[in-house]
């Protein structure tokens, strides 16, 4: 084994451990999995956005040669008496139960050994509906008499939602509150008051590996192979559904073809497990790209923001009213509502803050987590709002931000004192990299140019736990057992680097065992930028535990201190042959204090802060509204990057994704029907869409309690990117566009409205 110097693994850009598998086509994904005797399921979906189901006639489909069985909720109920699931609310039936709540909802499943037969049979199923009035808009739904659900059913796993249990007569699934100071008084005495409303659109994760689950339930054991970001959660929720102990449910996740928050908590697993339990054969369901639009999406959001500002530009109060369109099932929407609500006043030091954040049910496809847990939607509003106020007050937008910036040592609106959050340093680097003070040719012919800056932050889901096991074999080689899912972010590699750093091993020779809940210990989920910090710490602790045990063994064997005998020799001395293991374990849950339900105040709301700053330069064709983002800069505070190249790839990848959400992507509905649910009509960024000058960089920072100073990097550049572009466009054309996506047509209309209003 190569000798590695301690301290040499952190900050090393080694290639991903699984590189060769991925370039040779050998990497294993659930997508490919086949089990003997497996049936394929195809889903028959609702064509109605909101309706009572009168009848589902499956007889013709069942009669098609090759069809094994057609399943509806009535069949499922024979094996699972209460077939409802969900992470925050147990509101989602495994298949539609008496009524459908969005167009695209699963109503029945055809099972066949040949997927082509199952597909063919779908066309033979007939459903009769009695249409109900539907609600699509979050503001309308909040006060509508037309209810998506009769009663709220919070899950027991989320103790802070228990007060909602049994609530009836509303589409509001959750109301989150934060109160600080006295906003009314501050508004009453303000020099200036500004109020704006912003909206964001519904978009989808578009993982290239569509959702897929294989379940094999037999003889009292359930084994799931699933494209999931949260195998531990899947085990818990499946065990609950089945009424079984956790040790009879096994969840395995190989490589994951993209997740972005979509494949979290529980998705296809509930349905596929129920089917396998029902027919006592392995069952696989693979969604098509089109079907993914009906699984989970990002919340559309309406944000009313109001600020009180002194003549000098100091913000004295802010009131935020945020409405989250959660679609037909809550999924993790209530958490998005809380977590993004919590930071919705922005990274500013404001004495008086009032936040209301509402999760609202509508008759749209469900919404959940998508790279930022709502933070990008709120930043769109608070950062455009900042520039709009700066414009009105004739203040420099950078100076205005600096004057109000939330700095380390000061309490955030919820009471947590800011620590290790390099907001200003991130902004400064974004300004420097875009050349903020360099001259800009603002007009040439039809073209106008502009620059924009934005900053943002997010809290991290808390409290959550990660557990890791490090196993050193008798020859000194090393294996790491973790339930973190490497979905492309590079966690296997980074965790191996952490082990290598502690145990003085070459990380490229460490094997990382992919999640298998029979083998790998608990992890709350690969989500919300938490893995490097949480699992990274657990892995560090596990490696240190192993290291201590090795030293203990040396002492037991009477080795003189500093003899540094390789572990293989120590074990050989102990057992007289090549035998035994050294097993280190580590478990980590950061400090947390539950916020007061009425005021949202707490001493510790989040283990660390995600921080991003973006700057953009745009050119606008003033005749058509067509625009180009000519330069885009994304800066994040990620603490100490353990693998700088992987970190940069996270920053740039998240940036391009959010760029799509800013300028291109939009799920368009007509009467509750999605009209562009395929990649032919729902476009995502391609190589040609990437800004020509595209800079992604981490600040020089240190997260003091993170593993070797590191913290998460997966979401930070999604936060401030949209408003940076929005602010750049406003800088060029003289007016802000309040709604995402910013399309050429929206820009054109804004230019026209300004002209009509007699602007320049």
């Amino acid at each position: 084994m190569a000798t590695i110097t301690a301290g040499s693994q952190i900050g090393r850009s080694i290639p991903r451990l699984e590189s060769r598998d991925k370039v040779t086509g050998r990497a294993e994904y659930t997508h490919h999995l086949k089990l003997p005797g497996m049936l394929y399921g195809k889903i028959f979906r609702s064509t109605m956005p909101h309706a009572k189901i009168r009848k589902v006639d499956t007889s013709a489909a069942a009669a098609l040669p090759g069809v094994y069985r057609v399943v509806t909720i009535d069949d499922i109920r024979t094996v699972i008496p209460h077939p409802y699931y969900g992470p925050a609310f147990h509101d989602q039936p495994v298949l539609a139960d008496g009524k459908v709540r969005f167009a695209g909802e699963p109503v029945a499943v055809v099972l066949a050994s040949d997927p082509a037969v199952a597909e063919e049979a779908l066309g033979l199923i007939e459903a009769e509906y009695e249409e109900l009035p539907a609600v699509y808009d979050e503001l309308e739904a909040a006060s509508s008499p037309h209810l998506v659900h009769d009663e709220l059913k919070p899950a027991a796993t989320f103790p802070d939602l228990q007060h909602l249990k049994g609530r009836r007569g509303t589409n509001i699934a959750l109301d989150y509150k934060m109160r600080r100071g006295n906003v009314d008084a501050a508004f009453a005495s303000a020099d200036h008051v500004f109020e704006h409303e912003f909206r964001t659109q519904q978009v989808m994760h578009v993982p290239m590996e569509p959702f897929v689950t294989v379940a094999d339930v037999a003889n009292g054991q359930a084994t799931l192979h699933t494209a999931s970001q949260g195998p531990s959660f899947v085990r818990i929720e499946i065990a609950r559904l089945l009424g079984w102990p956790e040790n009879r449910v096994r969840v395995k996740v190989p490589h994951l073809g993209g997740g972005f928050g979509g494949k979290l908590y529980i998705k296809l697993e509930a349905l596929v497990t129920s089917l396998s339990l029902l027919v006592a054969r392995p069952v696989k369901i693979s969604l098509t790209m089109e079907e993914q639009f009906f699984m989970v999406t990002r919340h559309p959001c309406t944000f009313r923001i109001k600020s009180a500002v002194t003549k000098a530009g100091k913000i004295t109060a802010r009131k935020c009213e945020v409405w989250w369109n959660g679609g037909a099932y809550a999924d993790i929407g209530p958490r998005v509502t809380q977590k993004a609500g919590f930071t919705s006043a922005g990274p500013y030091d404001i004495e008086n803050v009032w936040i209301d954040s509402f999760a609202v049910y509508t008759n749209r496809p469900p919404c959940g987590a998508l790279r930022g847990f709502g933070a990008p939607q709120t930043a769109w509003a608070y950062e455009c709002h900042m520039d709009m106020m700066a414009r009105e007050l004739d203040l420099d937008p950078v100076a205005f931000r600096r004057m109000n910036m939330l700095r380390n040592g000061r309490p955030q609106a919820g009471g947590t004192v800011m620590e290790d959050a390099d907001i200003e340093a991130s902004m400064d680097l974004a300004l420097e990299r875009i050349g903020w003070n360099a001259p800009l040719e603002r007009v040439s012919g039809n073209i106008r140019r502009g620059r924009g800056i934005a900053i943002g932050f997010k809290g991290i889901t808390a409290p959550t736990t990660s557990v890791a096991i490090v196993n050193v074999y008798a020859d000194g080689s090393c294996v790491l057992y973790i339930s973190t899912v490497d979905m492309g972010q590079g966690s296997d590699t980074v965790m191996a680097q952490i082990v290598g750093e502690v145990l003085n091993l070459d990380p490229e020779k460490i094997k990382v065992i992919h999640p298998d809940t029979d083998v790998t210990p608990y992890d709350m989920g690969t989500l919300g930028s938490r893995s490097t910090y949480h699992m990274g710490t657990a892995v560090r602790l596990a490696a240190e535990d192993a290291k201590n045990k090795i030293e203990e063994l040396a002492r037991d064997l009477d080795m003189p201190p500093g003899s540094n005998l390789p572990v293989a020799e120590l074990l050989r001395k102990k057992y007289g042959m090549q035998a035994g293991n050294i097993i280190g374990t580590g478990s980590f849950m950061p400090d947390y204090q539950k916020p007061d339900p009425e005021t949202g105040q707490t001493r510790k709301a989040t283990p660390f802060w995600g921080v991003g700053a973006s700057s953009a330069e745009v050119e606008i064709d003033m005749e058509t509204g067509e625009f180009k983002v000519t330069k885009l800069v994304n800066i994040a505070d990620v603490g100490v990057p353990i693998n700088p190249k992987l970190v940069e790839a996270q920053l740039s990848g998240a940036g391009i994704m959010q760029y799509g959400f800013t300028t291109i992507e939009n799920m368009i509905f007509r009467d509750g029907q999605l009209t562009n649910g395929s990649l032919a009509d729902y476009k995502i960024p391609s190589l040609l869409d990437m800004p020509k000058v595209f800079i992604n960089e981490a600040t020089r920072s240190n997260q003091k309690d993170g593993p070797f100073g590191a913290k998460g990097a997966g979401e930070s550049t999604t936060i401030a990117l949209s408003p940076a572009i929005g602010n750049a466009i406003a800088d060029a054309i003289g007016v802000h566009i309040p709604d995402l996506p910013v399309t050429p047509e929206a820009v054109y209309r804004a230019i026209q409205s300004l002209k009509n209003a007699g602007g320049h």
Partner: protein
């Protein structure tokens, strides 16, 4: 898909027999890309696909007539063959230019010009270009051959004026030396989207005079459309900025559809601005 028959007839007669009468859901197949998309989306389920690859040699090849005045291009010619054809690049460079942004290299390797025309999706890039080149189609059917000017070919969304049983055999494209041509593809979302508006332009200039002109609009209407009102404002005239603006304004009464790429108003506006710019550019 189950229950799909595939045939590769060795003669036209065999192909006609396999395709059957008007009631038949057997479909002729070129590269099959558009058919596959429609079948996979369950929009359409043919009983059989009849590949024309081996039915007749006239479906294949790119030939320049001996007098150099026209190309005859077999309907089974792939986009890639067209893209990489030297004589096409020399005499019809607008075709080569159009290929760069047409779908992607994999689709261009397989999709055929005949299948593309028969699909009659108004968002396609090549049909407006063919139309602006005064192309015509040679069809063949049980009742014989016909020459159909492309202007008379499209009947609406996904609809053509092909007679029952008729096949597209060749595209005839006149070579028109001295013309300046361009295809303008305007996308409003990602660069790899379908066009919101497509404009195929041809200008014949003598000194400063525009002696003839073709303007074809696609994507925004139910079929590629010659903009004759705009053309007539320009024909025989000096292309002054005022004249060009008049021609662009003359597109105002076209019925344009709203879709996810833009409202009808906005697409009409894009057409005006980009038509004027392209005319200005080409006339210089």
């Amino acid at each position: 898909m189950i229950g799909l028959d595939i045939h590769e007839p060795q003669s036209l007669e065999e192909a006609f027999a396999l395709l059957g009468d008007d009631e038949s859901t057997a479909r002729p197949m070129g590269g099959g890309t558009a058919l596959m998309l429609m079948m996979k989306a369950r929009l359409f389920k043919p009983s059989a696909l009849v590949s024309l690859a081996k039915a007749d040699p006239r479906f294949h090849g790119i030939h320049l007539s001996s007098d150099g005045k026209a190309f005859t291009i077999g309907a089974m010619t792939t986009f890639a063959a067209l893209e990489h054809h030297d004589a096409i690049a020399k005499h019809l460079p607008v075709i080569t230019q159009t290929m760069v942004t047409l779908a992607n290299p994999r689709v261009r390797n397989v999709a055929t010009i005949g299948g593309n025309l028969a699909h009659a999706d108004p968002h396609l890039d090549l049909p407006p270009v063919w139309l602006s080149l005064d192309s015509s189609i040679r069809t063949i059917g049980p009742a014989g051959e016909r020459i159909v000017p492309l202007a008379d070919f499209f009947a609406g969304y996904y609809e053509t004026n092909l007679l029952p049983g008729e096949l597209i055999m060749q595209v005839h494209v006149p070579v028109s030396p001295g013309w300046r041509r361009r295809y303008v593809k305007i996308t409003t979302r990602s660069a790899h989207d379908w066009p919101a508006v497509g404009i195929a332009l041809g200008l014949q200039m003598q000194a400063e005079l525009c002696t003839d002109v073709r303007i074809v609009l696609s994507a925004a209407t139910d079929r590629p459309l010659r903009l004759e009102a705009a053309e007539s404002i320009l024909r025989g005239q000096k292309l002054t900025p005022g004249r060009i603006a008049d021609a662009a304004q003359a597109t105002g009464d076209i019925h344009i559809e709203s879709d996810s790429r833009g409202s009808a108003d906005y697409k009409a506006h894009l057409l005006k601005v980009h038509l004027a710019r392209a005319l200005q550019d080409l006339s210089e």
